[in-house]
């Protein structure tokens, strides 16, 4: 009932299979994958990488040994009509040795593991603190006033989607959530940390060079978990100071009688209920303060004061830049990156298609819970941005106004 020819075919097939598999693995990696965990760009990810690849190597060696032995055994001891094999019950000495050996290897792995773990949890060398708050389905990023972060931050900065940090600085992210558990993960800079409501967790970030480092929420958080992204942007010290200065500068109303001015009025009427723009004043000169807690179940909405100084939106799900401009920023060499990034979103680079679709009907573009008929469980409050039923003219105005926010 066994087939010797099937067996030889099998061993040849096994050999071919292994060869193909190996080749695929060796050749088969994406280049420049923005979230590549094996392409560290900062001290913390580097520590993890330095610990990880030897463990992979050991595992690989063990795997090759085990699989080779199995391959050997199934060839050497196949039924060739030999006599009944010796009925060996075991060799305790061998088994004990082969139990102790992996245990020793693992002890060898455990020691650097604990060391790296402790190093990654170090907070005494923090040079900059940035707070992160996850919410369905976007990230709020705020910078408390502090002496660190370059030459200090004089007043809190609130932004969303992109976290700007100075290069070569130990940033401590302190994070939480307003609703469900999310997770902050910028693979090229460090491992992930869950952002849990009611708790504050810390994770270190440090980038060696200027650049933009992609990330995603990595704890399932509901409908649009896939559309909850973020980037960390590292700028060299001078550029970082320039960025801070911009974020803390005064609001400048648009030129009167422009589309953007009309947009300001539309913004106040349609958007300012939830989205804060610092320094915005209404027709009477009173400050316009957003009250998202009255509309949104989790209580907040992205701050749009300097919206166009970042280049992604809607939970960093879409780009504000058209592809060529985006490529110019993302693929800029470190020396030019800061300058490119600080250009913001020039009008000819604006990705108006996605932005307009979003304004036209946000829940249709990104799955969210904003259907007024289905908000019973959340006391009528939305989770995400509702469809405001804006006209095309209103959208034109808003786009012009938003473009001005830089």
């Amino acid at each position: 009932m066994q087939s010797a020819s099937t067996f030889k075919n099998m061993s040849r097939r096994v050999r071919i299979g292994l060869a193909v598999g190996l080749a695929a693995v060796v050749a088969g990696c994406a280049q420049d994958a923005p979230q590549d965990t094996w392409d560290p760009a900062g001290r913390n990810a580097q520590m993890i990488h330095d610990l990880q690849w030897p463990v992979f190597a050991i595992a690989g060696v063990v795997g090759v040994i085990v699989l080779s032995v199995v391959a050997y055994v199934i060839v050497k001891f196949r039924d060739r009509g030999q006599a009944m094999p010796e009925q060996t019950h075991g060799k305790p000495a061998l088994e004990i040795a082969l139990t102790i050996l992996p245990a020793l290897i693992l002890i060898g792995v455990a020691i650097p593991t604990v060391g790296t773990l402790m190093a990654l949890n170090e907070t005494d060398d923090t040079e900059c603190v940035v707070n992160v708050t996850g919410q369905q389905w976007w990230w709020e990023i705020d910078y408390p006033a502090q002496d660190g972060c370059g030459e200090g931050i004089s007043a809190p900065i609130v932004t969303s989607g992109q976290m700007i940090i100075p290069t070569d600085t130990n940033v401590l992210v302190r994070g939480t959530s307003r609703d469900v558990i999310h997770s902050w993960w910028i693979p090229r800079l460090n491992g992930k940390r869950d952002m849990v409501p009611g708790r504050v967790h810390t994770v270190r970030l440090q980038a060696d060079e200027p650049g933009i480092y992609a990330g995603q929420c990595t704890e399932f958080c509901g409908l649009s978990h896939a559309n909850m992204r973020m980037e960390v942007v590292a700028l060299d010290p001078a550029d970082f100071e320039a960025w801070k200065a911009k974020q803390l500068s005064e609001y400048e109303a648009p030129e009167p009688d422009t589309l953007a001015a009309a947009g300001e009025a539309t913004y106040i009427a349609q958007c300012s209920r939830c989205h804060q723009v610092d320094g915005l004043e209404d027709a009477e000169g009173d400050p316009v303060i957003a009250r998202p807690d009255l509309q949104v179940y989790s209580g907040a909405a992205p701050n749009l004061t300097w919206f166009m100084t970042r280049n992604t939106f809607a939970g960093a799900t879409w780009d504000l830049l058209i592809p060529e401009c985006r490529a110019a920023v993302w693929e800029a060499p470190p020396g030019e990156f800061g300058e490119r990034y600080l250009e913001g979103v020039p009008e000819d680079c604006l990705n108006s298609v996605d932005l307009r679709e979003w304004l036209r009907n946000a829940p249709a573009k990104k799955p969210m819970y904003a259907d007024p008929e289905q908000l019973e469980e959340t006391d009528g409050l939305v989770r995400g941005m509702p469809n405001l039923a804006l006209s095309e003219d209103q959208i034109d105005e808003l786009v012009a106004y938003l473009l001005d926010r830089q």
Partner: protein, 667 residues
Amino acid sequence: MAIIERPSSTPTATTEYVTPSASMGFLRRPVETSGWKSWAFTVDHKKIGIMYGVVAMLFFFVGGLEAVLIRAQLAQADGTILSADKYNQMFTMHATTMIFLFVMPMAAAFANYMIPLQIGARDVAFPRLNALSLWTFVFGGIFLNTSWVLGGAADGGWFMYAPNSSVPFSPTNGVDFWVLGLLITGIASQVGAINLIVTCLNMRAPGMSLMRMPIFTWMAMVVQFLLLFAIPVITVALFLLMFQRNFDATFFSVEEGADPLLWQHLFWIFGHPEVYIIVLPAFGIISEVLPTFARKPLFGYPFVVFSGAAIGFVGFGVWAHHMFAAGLGPISVAVFSVATMAIAVPTGVKIINWTLTLWGGKLWFTTAMLFAIGLIVQFTIGGLSGVTHAVAPSDTQQTDTYYIVAHFHYVIFGGAVLGLFAGIYYWWPKVFGKMLNENWGRANFWFMIIGMNLTFGPMHIIGLQGQPRRMYVWTENRAGEGFFNLGFWNLVSTVGTVILAIGALLFLVNVWVSRKNPPAPEDPWDARSLEWLTTSPPKEHNFDRTPTVHALDEFFHRKYEDVGENGQHDFKKVATAEELLAEEEANADAHIHLPSPSYWPIVLAFSMPVLAYGIIYSTLLIIVGAAIAILALFGWALEPPTAPEDDFDPPSPTDGGEPSKELVTSV
């Protein structure tokens, strides 16, 4: 209660027991021996085992369809085959179905069928309880899946983290179906665990010490202990969530001061032993299959036993390795990281023992053997990726990505599922009395192996290069450059899924084409353990007389005698299976008493989904369900395990020298 054997004697004038028909006033016991009623009301562990297996296999294809849909959605960037909402339901139900409705019940199928046979018993300790386990599982599985058409299935992921699982964030009834469905199937597992533990500990044939117990039974028993202690913990978690969702408790409401990590701890204290519950039965199966087809005993049986028990025990101490990124603090993480590395050791021991079992053997590559060797290869890969997760800092890069999806599919599919298929092919002739076709079997195997490696292999790459899990779309922007970017590997993975699906279907083809095969012999594989000392399929009472056991691999030692001299071993065959069986038949017990079929298990099982629908929809149903349950419980308690003779219809003849399945009035 237990099977009660009484020596035959003339019934006395006063029977001590009142027949059910008289006491309940309207119900005679079911006594059919053929037709659908003989299946619906059976307490025979073999029929129950078969039903477990058939229903589990059905759910395998349900879960498989869910997987195919997931991979179809992810075959290209920004896929549109499934909406975000449907996708979230799909991956939640795929995992829940595969784990709770396929792998666990399939293992239960084997445990139910094989344990009594392997230990020389006629049934399990509590046959009606066994039937209860089966029907509770069946009704629970159906209940859970009705959610698809009753407002949407659960969509919070199979580990259903809080607070996402509470009502504001999961407004449909999907999560309620999930909670109640798992409470129901949990009862099935819990009750089955008690039953099988008592069976293994108490009902072994004379001479079968624990260290002569077949290895599959050992592993299955360890699994039952794991179930016994793990199910109550998830039960607590499920009750807390149910009270939160249905009665406004605030166990997971952060604004009231709750700690969301409570759910995670409770869940994973169950969840980690659960993964050993999933894989140990398969380990037990191949520990039987490999020696049979290598023609030599399992290498290091005591080590395999102790490592199995060690995995079970230590498995309760590593749960927080599922929470390395959850914010536990470095000390806790360090402790669990080291403990997780420790548990790799007994698992590795088994790989060594299996390989050394093959070493020096005379290997016969039947389909069952192919699957068993497949397990060794695939589980090694899965186990090694698991070791990379044990390194906690690495895990913070790997967890919640496709790398972890790769790991657990290699250990679950490559471990548990391949092992279960090895068991199916190995024991099919014994259970159904026919051989499965070996050529179709080989096709089944190769399509599955190639399919699984193409599906889950690339996931290692995808994960390490940054694609998170549980996302209904992936984008070009995060997929990297080059031909072999994440888009390529996602497509390869989907193609692999199709091949894997074909492999699964080939199993069904094999079952179909083999249905008219000639009857299988008693011992087609020249096997080693007691379940083969029976007809194919076994008689209802299993053994004509209870065997007396003198050694491990008792059946082997009855067929083969060691005629070696001067310390040399030389095994010669001295009896065939047929000869041994004939000897048993000639010495059959005069009267054999079997437990009787009963309505109450299926009635009690039925009350549970009624209660569950009641909790979701209507208090009236709760009352109806409770009433059915109480009626069934009392009916059960008042019913003797064996029906009196005059409940039988029609009576079958009793023959003096032949073992009779006739039920003699209990005195």
